[in-house]
């Protein structure tokens, strides 16, 4: 009897172990499968959100770039319409049909006036053309164009601007020079408008295959977090323009405070040999 009871006890112990073990394993396997499905869904949803954010940013950048292009066209149209148009109309007035009936002195006077006006118009058109593509940049390269720009800013006497290129014996491609020049123009424009700085200093270096340009100023500046925030918002058109240009050149920009915490520093990095985005080559 005792043996039988012991046997029953043993069997029930093994049975419960089998029951619990089987149940445990099934729960473990099913739980694991459910966990994996839920986890993967969550990760994929997160990735999708990231993709959407990136797309939204790209959309903002393109919008900013298109808006900037339109503004530039409007400015050129306004310059041509408001300045060149009236000047040419005035020149036409001086050179009207009555000119042949005038006395010699009046004729000379009119021709001289018309010539003066045409000279002014030529200068105006040249200025418009230079604002589109600085001739110094085209003919002498980025170093001369930036030096020229800094000299002009310094010449106003309001701000001390200087630049120094340390390693620029081999020029980068002209398209990239234009991109860097436009970025520098935009940065300087922002500094002049918003920072109240008393000096701007630009230095250039190479680090391996990377072209590096650093801009220091002592005014009120922004840091990387501000740049990223403005880039994602609807304001900050100029910064978005910088971003879209850098994207084309596969470059990077870093806004930070100097180690001494008294200056703001902007670092622009562009790979020297990499090709530009094909869309940029088509559009420009």
């Amino acid at each position: 009897m005792h043996n039988l009871l012991l046997q029953v006890k043993t069997f029930s112990g093994v049975s419960s172990a089998m029951f619990l073990g089987t149940l445990g394993m099934l729960v473990l396997v099913i739980g694991l499968v459910i966990f994996i499905i839920v986890h993967q869904r969550r990760v994929m949803r997160y990735q999708f959100q990231l993709q959407q954010m990136e797309q939204e940013q790209q959309r903002l950048l393109i919008k900013a770039s298109v808006r900037l292009q339109e503004e530039e066209r409007q400015r050129i149209a306004a310059d041509l319409h408001d300045d060149a148009g009236p000047l040419l109309a005035t020149a036409r007035l001086y050179l009207n049909e009555n000119l042949v009936n005038m006395d010699k002195a009046s004729q000379l006077q009119s021709i001289f006036q018309a010539r003066q006006i045409l000279d002014d118009t030529i200068q105006l058109v040249r200025n418009i053309s230079h604002s589109l593509m600085p001739p110094t940049l085209k003919n002498f390269g980025l170093e001369s164009a930036i030096n020229d720009l800094m000299q002009k800013i310094s010449g106003s006497g309001a701000i001390n601007a200087s630049s120094r290129f340390h390693e620029y014996r081999d020029r980068i491609k002209s398209e990239k020079e234009l991109i860097v020049f436009r970025i520098v123009q935009e940065l300087i424009n922002n500094i002049l408008k918003h920072s109240n700085a008393s000096f701007i200093h630009i230095t250039q270096n190479m680090s391996g295959n990377k072209f590096i340009l650093r801009l220091h100023h002592d005014g009120k500046g922004i840091e990387q977090s501000d740049f990223e925030r403005l880039n994602k918002s609807n304001i900050g058109l100029g910064l978005k323009n910088i971003s879209s240009r850098l994207r084309v050149a596969h470059g990077r920009i870093l806004f930070e405070k100097d180690a001494s915490q008294s200056y703001y520093k902007v670092t622009v990095e562009i790979p020297k040999d990499e090709e530009l985005e094909p869309s940029y080559m088509v559009n420009h």
Binding site: F11, G21, T22, L26, I30, L32, V33, Q40, M44, F48
Partner: protein, 227 residues
């Protein structure tokens, strides 16, 4: 009465091997191009023949059936996982473990002279295959490139394997230690899990056939911004 139900389940379990096989044969044009599904079909034939052996073989000649069944099962599961795991090292590990397992099974049968149900052999098989299945799931979990894990047919085959091996693990482990009568009571669970495994195989194959006709879209598909 209990015996009749047990016999019915064993009969159903044996027949369940034919479900994936028939589905593959019915859609052979679609399934025949995939090596894994061909392997599923071959394994179903082998398992059906082995499972139904008690209808045409004597008890004495069925001594080698259990170890042979275990080895076939291991080779098929290992081949399937090796085919769907991307990590090269793990692939090699699966091949090595298959070779070792076959050697181990041979030594168990011919050297140690074990016959019938062998807890150790089945236990080793279950542990090794479950570990590789976990690794497969881990790899799939981190793969967020195209579609959800449950849209892949091999996921359902793996789930079937895991439920079958995981659920019957403890019964097989205790198989050599409990009374034959108790084991027979529990055996029905392994048969049910075996049927469940084959149902999962059918789900996987039908999913594969459906996806061949109408390929699934990416998990979160979207129209790209045209720039």
């Amino acid at each position: 009465m209990t015996k009749t139900i047990e016999s019915l389940f064993i009969f159903l379990g044996t027949l369940s091997d034919l479900l994936p096989l028939l589905l593959i044969l019915f859609y052979f044009k679609t399934c025949g191009k995939v090596i894994v599904l061909k392997a599923v079909a071959i394994s179903c034939v082998i398992f059906f023949l082995l499972n139904s052996s008690h209808y045409y073989l004597s008890a004495k000649s069925r001594d080698f059936i259990y170890p042979f069944f275990t080895v076939c099962e291991f080779i098929f599961f290992a081949f399937f996982l090796r085919f769907h795991i991307k990590n090269k090292t793990v692939q090699k590990l699966i091949l090595a473990s298959t070779a070792l397992f076959v050697l181990f099974a041979i030594s168990e049968v011919f050297i140690i002279k074990l016959s019938g149900l062998d807890s150790v052999l089945i236990g080793v098989e279950s542990i090794v295959i479950i570990i590789f299945s976990f690794y497969y799931l881990y790899e799939q979990m981190n793969d967020v490139s195209d579609q959800f894990i449950y849209n892949k047919f091999h996921f359902w085959i793996t789930v079937g394997i895991m439920i079958y091996l995981g659920g019957s693990f403890f019964i097989y482990i205790f198989a050599n230690q409990v009374d034959k009568n108790i084991l027979q009571q529990w055996w029905i669970i392994t048969v049910i899990l075996y049927i469940v495994k084959n149902i999962f195989f059918v789900i996987a194959i039908s999913m594969f056939i459906r996806q061949r006709k109408d390929p699934p879209r990416s998990a979160y598909h979207y129209s790209p911004y045209l720039n």
